[in-house]
Symmetry: C2
Subunit: 230 residues, 2 copies
DNA sequence: TGAATAGTGTCTTTCAGACAATATGCC
DNA sequence: GGCATATTGTCTGAAAGACACTATTCA
């Protein structure tokens, strides 16, 4: 260990024995009415061949949010989706190589955008149902668990569900999304009463076409931002 | 930059250009019925002489929680209080020296324990009212703001207020604590109705002594853990 | 006309919020 | 008795939750 001359005299020595810092992203999406998580199959050590969350090292000249977006794009081809910081995991032995602290992110992909591409460090990219996950690398199972709790909670007091839906959608699709995340059925009339009372949606002129039954009215969210209620 | 031989071949090169990692702690306490935050006056660069949150570098062989506890003890003499991870701040320029990512913690000190001692790196340790804070070093003002939001929110759906109170307390003291944090008065009858309906408290046999008026019944929290309701 | 989903209203219960009078202990 | 705080209940309005039938489109 040698002294870095740019730094002030009293600069803490620990600075020279630093943990690595990564980001990991839990991407949720609804496929066929089921809540899924995006996992990559690792092509490199450690845990080569295991399924894991997309993620990687934070660069010196990017923020944490930028690192999360970049890693997601690099490893899965996904960009411009809803993301928020979730929690930071720093157990000493969570990575067998060395000390790695990871800032976990929660991300939501609308049902429509589902074109995936695998990176070089990645053998494969796949969607898994949240209740049929394979064994995960590192402590990624804990991260997923925290992410799912956060998503369920936030569904109740914000319009975060917007991130899981396409730009326009029917009330039935909205309800199915809630049910898929929460894992239980919801009464249709109470649900619609509640949604309408919150005044979050704008009805469109058009109806959903192409079904072999009565077409439903289409809606979109009034606000582009995250809105809290309750 | 040279290669670390312990690491696998494909190990990411960024590993050798790592951000520093710190923890910072927002300690809240109620003093004279007012919500206060504990600040230290920095005795070292950068921001020497400025007020800042207690905190410091994370060591290689301690978890983030341990780092937060250790730094708080070292810089203020406080130990064994309620602490939870708050949020991670990673803007590129938040520290003028170099890239520093900090994991912020929220901590609560009961009204009774108020013996403070200053560390060598610390010129002074003082309590400040949350709405009369001095200019703070780094991005610590943002951190305080997030911490206050979290504390207010969590007061509404958990027994987190426990961390601000001594082991036994009266309903009046409990209500004053809520009022100090939330910043507005609460109706006494509605407050007591709600508290009793939640069934979080156990009444003690004893009454609060030493006042020149009718003594109030003493209570303690039923559970030692954080409990969620609503 | 049958299949499939869309769309709608009432009743009950629970909870939040407004509001004031009496009780107790100490001086 | 005066002061200071403790303790207690009712009414009203809003929202949550249980519950079932009619409407529309297409095949």
């Amino acid at each position: 260990m040698k002294k870095n001359s740019r730094l002030p005299k009293n600069y803490n020595l620990q600075d020279f024995d630093r943990p690595s810092v990564t980001v990991d992203i839990v991407v949720f999406s609804i496929l066929n009415g089921v809540l899924k998580i995006l996992l990559i199959q690792r092509n490199i050590l450690p845990f080569k061949g295991s399924w894991a969350l997309p993620g990687g090292f934070v660069k010196m000249k990017e923020t944490l949010d930028q690192a999360a977006s970049r890693e997601l794009l690099e490893e899965t081809g996904i960009k411009k989706i809803y993301m928020e910081q979730l929690y930071t995991f720093g157990d000493i032995k969570r990575d067998p190589r060395t000390r790695v602290i990871t800032i976990a992110y929660l991300a939501l992909l609308p049902t429509t955008n589902v074109g995936l591409k695998a990176d070089t460090d990645v053998a494969d990219v796949k969607w898994f149902s949240v209740n049929k996950l394979p064994a995960l690398a590192f402590d990624h199972q804990s991260i997923v668990s925290v992410a799912l709790d956060r998503l369920k909670a936030k569904l109740q007091y914000s319009n975060i569900v917007k991130g899981l839906l396409p730009l326009t959608f029917t009330l039935g699709e909205l309800q199915k999304t809630y049910e898929a995340v929460l894992g239980h059925p919801i009464d249709k009339r109470n649900f619609r009463k509640k949604i309408h009372s919150l005044d979050l949606l704008t009805p469109l002129e058009k109806l959903r076409e192409g079904s072999s039954h009565r077409p439903a009215a289409l809606y979109k969210f009034r606000s582009r931002d995250l809105v809290f209620f309750d």
